[in-house]
């Protein structure tokens, strides 16, 4: 039997919390509000948002770019294009009005990724948008984002839901490794070794799994013990160092 890694989206604890947050955010429909998703890089925030947006109607996604920091107009134009406004007005006033009109009509959920790269004044623009239209805005960012939002009282008071993406836990790793590659851990120490090596970073778990599958295929088994996991992790680390 040869093991392989299937492209599969696994609903880990973070994903389930994210879905619960989105449901709670939808239940307060009608008023301007923010959702906040935060956590260290490599926790799967953006991938979870992509999965949710792709499979849910009325969701739009904008990745904030550092180059917009001097231009609120560029930021608004990116939102306009995302909402399907083919020719966004050049002046900021009409641009804002057209975006607001679209948001009022369809009440989509707007996801803005990495807003902490933008100056704090941009949060006020987002607040104006959500307040004027009732369309919820979900902000996705790293650890500094909650502090940035707290500084803006009016923004923070409209933050109805927030979740922190926690490190990939032992249960998440077992769930992912079993679903994606049908690998079975023979003892808790094996999965703990993988968790320790990855420090809860989903990308490192993926990297380690690729090596683990390679090692297990060479051995002709689907069962991973502590020694096999340690060998796979060592191999992954040496490849990463090269």
């Amino acid at each position: 039997m040869t093991l392989s890694i299937k492209p599969i989206f696994v609903k880990t604890a973070n994903v389930r919390n994210f879905e619960a947050m989105m449901e709670a955010l939808a239940s307060s429909a009608g008023e301007g509000r923010f959702g906040l998703v935060w956590g260290r890089a490599g926790r799967g925030k953006t991938r979870t948002a992509h999965y949710h947006i792709a499979n849910t109607r009325g969701c739009h996604y904008v990745l904030a770019l550092k180059i917009w920091r001097h231009s609120q107009s560029e930021f608004l134009k990116a939102i306009a294009r995302e909402l399907g406004i083919a020719e966004p007005p050049h002046r900021v006033g009409p641009l804002f009005a057209e975006i607001a009109e679209r948001l009022v009509k369809a009440k989509p959920t707007l996801f803005i990724d990495e807003p902490e790269k933008l100056p704090i004044a941009f949060l006020e623009i987002m607040r104006d948008l959500t307040e004027a239209t009732g369309a919820p805005i979900v902000l996705i960012g790293e650890e500094e984002l909650p502090a940035m939002m707290r500084k803006e009282r009016r923004v923070w008071s409209r933050t109805y839901q927030q979740i922190q993406f926690k490190p990939f836990g032992v249960a998440d790793i077992v769930q992912y490794v079993t679903a994606a590659a049908a690998v079975r851990f023979t003892c808790p120490a094996a999965v703990e070794a993988m968790q320790k090596s990855s420090e809860g970073d989903i990308r490192i778990v993926r990297r380690d799994l690729i090596n683990l599958v390679r090692v297990l295929n060479a051995k002709g088994t689907a069962e991973a013990d502590e020694k096999t996991v340690a060998a796979a992790v060592r191999q992954a680390l040496s490849e990463a160092d090269e």
Partner: protein
């Protein structure tokens, strides 16, 4: 079997004319439903208004709508794949399988269509999988698969050409018949005069 009600008929016609998020003119929709007079069209306007309220139909400009599908249902896989490509800018087939719940073959087929349309380009490989980069973002609506429409268009063009050739051949036949008739008449009209053979 239960007959579909009017809203279901309108919905099915909308899906047929604009199932891929294409814009549909209300006049074309009315024609497809055999509604000619303004009086005939009134129930259609009422039905479209209800569908708009339910979020199933969006009015994009006067007299033009887009069918969005029933609220509550998730987007179709094609829209989900397009959404993933727009968000990530660079994708592999595995990304579309994982994030848009597409099958591997459908993801490959869709990417090939986008390459033909000039929306994405193949730029290399991540591990063993080819990577595609978004180069022409057409907006939130997934590009429609016009292969079927193109085939129909070709068939119609070929038909038109064949009919024109048949017409031409028919005209030639008529002209030839006229010529034969004229020739026959000319032959009949030849006077049978006695020819002097010189004998006394």
């Amino acid at each position: 079997m239960r007959r579909p009600n009017f809203a279901e008929t309108v919905r099915s016609k909308l899906k047929e004319l604009g199932g891929d998020g294409r814009q549909v003119k209300i006049s074309v929709l009315a024609e497809a439903l055999d509604m000619i007079s303004n009086k005939d069209k009134r129930p259609l306007y009422r039905c479209l208004s209800d569908l708009r309220d339910a979020g199933e139909v969006e009015r994009v400009s006067p007299g033009v709508v887009v069918y969005r599908g029933k609220a509550g249902a998730g987007p179709d896989i094609r829209s989900a794949m397009w959404s993933v490509i727009r968000m990530r800018k660079m994708v592999t087939v595995a990304d579309l399988v994982e994030l848009a719940n597409a099958s591997e073959s459908y993801a490959k087929e869709f990417l090939a269509l986008l390459v033909r349309r000039g929306c994405v380009e193949r730029i290399g490989r991540i591990g063993q999988s080819p990577t595609y980069r978004l180069i022409n973002d057409l907006g939130p609506q997934a590009p429609a698969d016009t292969a079927k429409a193109d085939r129909l268009h070709h068939i119609r063009e070929a038909k038109k050409k064949a009919i024109a050739q048949l017409d031409e051949a028919g005209q030639a036949l008529i002209a030839a018949t006229h010529a034969i008739v004229r020739a026959r008449m000319a032959v009949v009209d030849i006077q049978e005069t006695e020819v002097d053979d010189g004998e006394i």
